[in-house]
Symmetry: C2
Subunit: 242 residues, 2 copies
DNA sequence: GGCATGGATCCTGTATACAATGAACCTGTT
DNA sequence: AACAGGTTCATTGTATACAGGATCCATGCC
């Protein structure tokens, strides 16, 4: 967590005011990148010191993070990075298949040339990043594709729901990825999806999403643990931020 | 709003502590019942005085209400009761058809006897309330049915999403109901749905939901306004709480 | 009449102080 | 050693003070 302190100081020197939004973004990103593992304590004063603001701002940020399902906020207890269970992971994937499938179906044949090119560029970028073994960059490109779908959803309510589900699935992917697996890259999935979207084949687009997300889920290790993880999370003694 | 003050005082005298949750519940309910029309200003100090708490608690409540899409919270401006547009209304209904349809399909043939009886009782209660012209009671029973579906959803992620969508559709139904229409009662819809659930026919259940929600949406007046509503909402001069 | 300008006022943003709760720890006993 | 009890410390809950922004209204100008 302390790595932030430098950039924060830099931004403060640059005259920028840190707001709750900045904190939400930084913490969300850190969770996504597994820099803040599940169960990590997030005391209000500590965060406040890191970001150079008072508890009021931190509290607002934590409340928003809780509504995004990123942290767990319980009365009279420190906020902690959430650790979704295996069951919740499965349910999140199922929900995303439903919602993103519908969004893709609605979007089929309705994307303008600029958006299509933007999507294609991200897909090319993903392949290229995978080729040079740059997994963080590959993830960025992959996420960009799905976030673009959400942003362009003709149904904005579904789009907002999809944004939330993309975040949640990303977190659990990071959590349950098989450790020996270098990458969650599924060659051709995104290209096939984009082709279906371009051709205006709604059902092919929906099926493309379904297949992609099922394959992704299959790459995870969702076999039942002997509660060791859960015990760790519950009894979990000070997995402090280094 | 001031009607609350009495009950609040009563609860305080009874030794109960008012928390942000209470405020959220009360405001949500008031919006649902159209006691707080769209655009109503909700200043923090005023709410604080009504509930006998300080701004800190009110702020938390307002933030939560904003994440529930009940109020609009913009920087440096008073929170206002949200007024979803006609377009958003259509999108909310479409999203709910998708999600509740899936939940119903998942639930088909999986409900235990007690839950089925509970649902049947609410359906009977709805018909009975409609018969004696008690619209508020009818709405309560109708909402109870859908909330039960959400609560029993095997997929809890979808269940939580459905809970949110039920709230949002209820708000826009109250907003856009044709004024001459006494009730949004659709005879037989709920009974047919329950029958499909009991028989375990997933697709019939999904179709029952789809049909029910489409009929409901058709009862609303979603014809494009000449921006009069929007101007009112934007320029909206002090529609104060009496 | 329409419209810009200025100040008074209302309201939110933020920081901080104090109360209250919960966790950690230490101690004494069996 | 295991455990119960109480004490201490860390951390959140709530209220309040002050600063800054937005709104509203009156005034004056075109």
């Amino acid at each position: 967590m302390h790595e932030w302190q430098e950039e924060v100081l830099a931004e403060v020197r640059a005259g920028r005011r840190i707001s709750d939004r900045d904190i939400v973004d930084k913490v969300r990103r850190a969770v996504l990148m597994q820099r803040l593992p599940p169960g990590t304590r997030l005391p209000e004063v500590t965060l406040g010191e890191v970001f150079g603001v008072s508890r009021s701002v931190v509290r607002k940020a934590l409340t928003r993070l809780a509504s995004e399902h990123v942290v767990d906020q319980r009365p009279n207890q420190v906020a902690r990075v959430r650790a979704p269970s295996i069951e919740e992971t499965r349910e999140t994937f199922a929900a995303r298949r439903l919602v993103e499938g519908e969004v893709a179906a609605l979007l089929a044949g309705r994307l303008d040339a600029a958006s299509r090119e933007r999507l294609a560029a991200e897909a090319r970028g993903e392949i290229e990043a995978h080729g040079r073994g740059d997994e963080p960059a590959r993830i960025e490109h992959s996420l960009a594709i799905h976030h673009l779908l959400a942003a362009h959803s003709p149904n904005r309510v579904l789009g907002a729901m999809l944004t939330d589900l993309i975040l949640r699935t990303s977190i659990v992917i990071a959590l349950y990825k098989r450790p020996n697996l270098a990458s969650c890259f599924l060659e051709g999935d995104h290209a096939a999806l984009l082709a279906a979207l371009e051709q205006g084949d709604a059902e092919a687009a929906r099926e493309g999403i379904r297949h992609h997300l099922e394959s992704l889920e299959a790459l995870l290790d969702l076999s039942p643990r002997e509660a060791s993880i859960d015990l760790m999370a519950i009894l979990g003694r000070s997995r402090e931020q280094a």
